[in-house]
């Protein structure tokens, strides 16, 4: 094996003022060789980011390394002075982050943000022309188009992918030997993610650097890792070469993580009979008008001419990247938003543009499960109060409603004794189950899941997906399943619609879409899906 760039041995991080010796991570061993990508994988709370920030000596206030060693090319970093660490950061160790929009300073141009690295990491002053040249070269190296113009742009004028390229250009500007990437593609669309992963792989090869890559996604691991370190609750559970860990994981937890990655393959390939139509959407349009001064202004066509039907017991997936209009479509169908024009025929009644008062009795038939389980439950109401709200609205007495929601909690796999507890006592996955129970309380015909599993850890995500499939077969529920992840849609849906820029570019039975995608965009989505080759 080649020379080790980074050696972390026995690293333990604890609280600065710690009374009971709590440890955030314990006895971490990670080695990053030159020319290799080492992925640290784990779910939220596994301590993977704490490990990365320890290397940078940028731990959040209140945390400090209490044991172990961190060596960069043999130099001990834990004992290093603040000044020495500052010298190393940015010059020998580069770092990129999850959210490139917030990681870049919004009021400084790209050039300023790169140039200051050169300025603060050398003794002598550099002439402006030379700085410009180096900045330009670094940007061009990241394959940024029009790098000369982009130098003078502000972060908000760039796309998400461009911003992350700028971040990488910045991290690589002074030719570090170690790049730390903390979930660098999590906030990006899948096609952009693919490009960034390719770029990082290419960098490793060209510059012979070591990369410490933090991620929660085994699909990404499968795409780029040379070595894998699996973490759970602050300890390393397994590590080894990517091939070994992916093919023959030694630990059940690793196996579980790998199995939980959606592969886009239907587990039950039952063919469903044609069923009565519950919902028919025709020529649905949603236009956001920013009517400006004097009647001018921009108009955003979030949804252009959408049309589809949904039958009883059917799960229809709506797949698209950010800005595709998929969430707007969901909000129109659930009438959280009034569409600009078109028809939404729900059980024979057009609800597209009726008044709130007319709409109210129809609302019970369509219920929504939202993305963020932490914001979907009123923190001030007990679980029971939240759950019975809908039932009571549609005429039940509170006592009858409580009895009913207790059975629903059982249905979604929750204890029925939790009615008097409050949302903050539950984990994200548990809250999402409570939200599903709430949605079911009014006996809906259609459930709209708007990115309902995106915020969940991968193992929890798999459980909730199973719950949805189960509910469909037990209750005959129809679902509109909105997601950015084609693989997730593939696991659950009977039919899939692919949306791009407000248009439905392709739709059909899941098997057809997977086996024989027609539209170039659908094909692009497939080829971008991480872990496609190695995890099948």
């Amino acid at each position: 094996m080649s020379e080790a760039v980074l050696e972390v041995a026995g690293l333990t991080v604890g609280l600065t003022h710690d009374a009971d010796g709590r440890r955030i991570v314990r006895d971490i061993n990670v080695t990053v060789p030159r020319g290799q990508i080492v992925c640290v994988v784990g779910e939220s709370g596994s301590g993977k980011s704490v490990t990365a920030f320890s290397v940078m000596a940028l731990l959040p206030q209140g945390l400090k390394p209490v044991a172990g060693s961190i060596k960069l090319l043999g130099e001990e970093l834990i004992a290093a002075t603040d000044d020495r660490m500052r010298e190393l950061r940015g010059s020998r160790i580069g770092m990129i982050f999850q959210e490139p929009m917030t990681a870049l300073n919004p009021v400084m141009t790209v050039r300023e943000q790169l140039a200051e690295l050169i300025e603060w990491h050398s003794e002598k002053r550099h002439p402006k022309a030379e700085v410009d040249k180096r900045v330009l070269a670094a940007l061009e190296d990241m394959l940024l188009p029009n790098a000369a113009q982009m130098m003078h742009a502000y972060p908000h004028q760039l796309s998400g992918g461009q911003r992350q390229r700028v971040m990488i250009a910045m991290a690589m500007l002074l030719e570090p030997i170690l790049l730390i990437a903390d979930e660098p593609t999590t906030a990006l669309d899948v096609t952009t993610q693919k490009q960034i992963l390719v770029l990082i792989k290419d960098l490793v090869k060209r510059k012979n650097i070591g990369v410490l890559f933090i991620t929660h996604d085994f699909g990404v691991v499968a795409d780029i890792a040379d070595q894998v370190v699996v973490m759970q609750k602050g300890v390393v559970v397994e590590s080894g070469s990517a091939d070994t860990v992916l093919k023959n994981p030694a630990q059940p937890y690793t196996r579980l993580l790998i199995d939980s990655v959606p592969k886009g393959i239907r587990k039950s390939a039952e063919i469903r009979e044609p069923s009565p139509t519950l919902l028919e959407v025709k020529a649905l349009k949603m236009t956001y008008g920013h009517r400006g001064f004097l009647g001018r202004g921009r108009v955003t066509q979030a949804v252009k001419e959408a049309a589809f039907t949904l039958g009883r017991g059917e799960i229809l997936g709506v797949v698209g990247e950010s800005g595709s209009g998929k969430s707007t479509l969901a909000r129109c169908v659930s009438r959280l938003m009034k569409p600009t024009s078109g028809e939404i025929s729900l059980l024979g009644t057009d609800i597209a543009r009726v008044s709130n008062e007319t709409l109210r009795p129809h609302r019970r038939y369509v219920q929504v499960v939202f993305q963020d389980p932490y914001r979907s439950l009123n923190p001030r109401l007990s679980v029971g109060q939240s759950l019975i709200e809908g039932v009571v609205n549609f005429g039940a007495t509170p006592e009858a409603a409580r009895a009913k929601v207790a059975t629903l909690l059982e249905l979604v796999g929750m204890d029925t004794q939790i009615l008097d507890r409050f949302p903050h006592e539950f984990s994200g996955g548990q809250r999402q189950r409570i939200c599903i129970a709430r949605a079911l309380a009014s006996e809906p015909q259609i459930l709209i899941a708007d990115e309902a599993v995106s915020a969940l850890d991968v193992t929890v995500q798999a459980q909730v997906l199973r719950l949805f499939a189960d509910l469909r077969s037990r209750l005959g529920l129809a679902m509109l399943f909105i997601t950015h992840d084609l693989r997730v849609a593939g696991e659950l849906c009977d039919r899939i619609m692919v949306m791009k820029s407000g248009e439905i570019v392709e739709s059909g039975p899941t098997a057809d879409i997977f086996d024989n995608p027609q539209h170039p965009y659908t094909k692009a989505l497939f080829s971008a899906a991480p872990g496609r080759e190695r995890l099948q």
Binding site: G90, F97, T102, A103, N105, P106, E116, Y154, H156, F293
Partner: protein, 316 residues
């Protein structure tokens, strides 16, 4: 969008605000107790004479018509005539605006020069002695009435130490030295609250910005801490700081009215108090329009300056 376009758009947006200010000023007179006409006509005027004056002033018209008349004259720069002095209100305001403008400007300049650095240092050395000192000064500063602060300075700096004149005003034509010498105590009086406000907001917004991701990036780039704070964080905290300077103008004007009374400055604040005591409504209306207009204008400038501090705002 071009700068001129933004300017035009923002300027147009203040028109309704000014219209509301005008409406309030107008309604104040109509709904006040006591009949201004009776006052104008004198104690022994007969009803016929009062009716004549009423007709002459257009007060027999319905209220909306009166408002439009009033607005029309306002647009031509005619603020009416003082009941007491019979001078045009605009003349009176022009005569008295000098001291008010002077003390407001020195206060704004002084407060920004002192308040922003205090706020930055307090945030940088959070929990340090300066932070605690600034915190307690601002807590106390907010609790003491402006006029009491004024008398405190008079007692300490004029009566005990004899450094500054107790009261009075010297115009700029009497020499800049004398001018500033007379303005020192009023400025110190008015500034305390304003400095406290600016320092507080600077500290809070800077601390907020220091939690942002890009500050972490700046540290990950190995920049010295002072560069992280002063270059990366402060520039991002500029918008709330500038906006509190604008909002604080309302506070400042309120303070000016009181301070002018304490130091016997012949400005608009004194004119306001005298006019209220004399029930000289046209003058009060005029002053409301002037102060309201000043507030709107300053906040318009503040609004436009945002795009200078934050490139994202000009893009909208």
């Amino acid at each position: 969008m071009a700068v001129a376009g933004v300017l035009l758009k923002r300027s147009v947006s203040v028109v309704p605000v000014l219209a509301v200010v005008a409406l309030i000023a107008f309604l104040l007179l109509r709904f006040s107790s006591g009949d201004p006409v009776a006052q104008l006509a004198g104690d022994n005027a007969d009803p016929a004479a009062i009716a004549a004056i009423r007709a002459r002033l257009g007060l027999d018209q319905p209220l909306p018509v009166q408002f439009l008349h009033w607005l029309w004259r306002l647009l031509q720069g005619d603020l009416g005539t003082s009941i007491v002095s019979n001078q045009p209100v605009s003349t009176q305001i022009v005569q008295r605006v000098g001291p008010t403008l002077a003390v407001s400007l020195t206060t704004i300049i002084f407060s920004v020069l002192v308040g922003v650095p205090i706020g930055v240092l307090a945030a940088w050395r959070r929990g340090g002695w300066l932070d605690r000192f600034a915190m307690w000064t601002s807590v106390t500063g907010f609790a003491v009435p402006t006029f009491a602060i004024g008398y405190f300075w008079i007692y300490l700096l004029s009566m005990q130490l004899g450094l500054f004149p107790v009261q009075g005003y010297a115009s700029l034509s009497e020499g800049i030295g004398r001018f500033l010498w007379h303005l020192t105590l009023p400025t110190l009086t008015l500034s305390l609250v304003y400095v406290a406000l600016i320092a507080r907001v600077t500290r809070t917004s800077l601390l907020e910005v220091l939690n942002e991701d890009f500050v972490r990036t700046a540290r990950a780039k190995g920049l010295p801490e002072r560069i992280v704070v002063f270059k990366h964080a402060l520039r991002n905290a500029a918008v709330p700081i500038v906006s509190i300077i604008g909002i604080g103008v309302a506070l400042l004007i309120g303070g000016v009215v009181v301070t002018e009374s304490v130091f016997n400055l012949p400005g608009l604040g004194r004119l306001t108090v005298d006019s209220v005591l004399a029930r000289d409504y046209p003058v009060i209306q005029g002053i409301i329009m002037v102060f309201g207009g000043a507030y709107v204008a300053i906040n318009l400038l503040v609004d436009i300056s945002y795009s200078f501090f934050d490139p994202r705002i000009s893009a909208q």
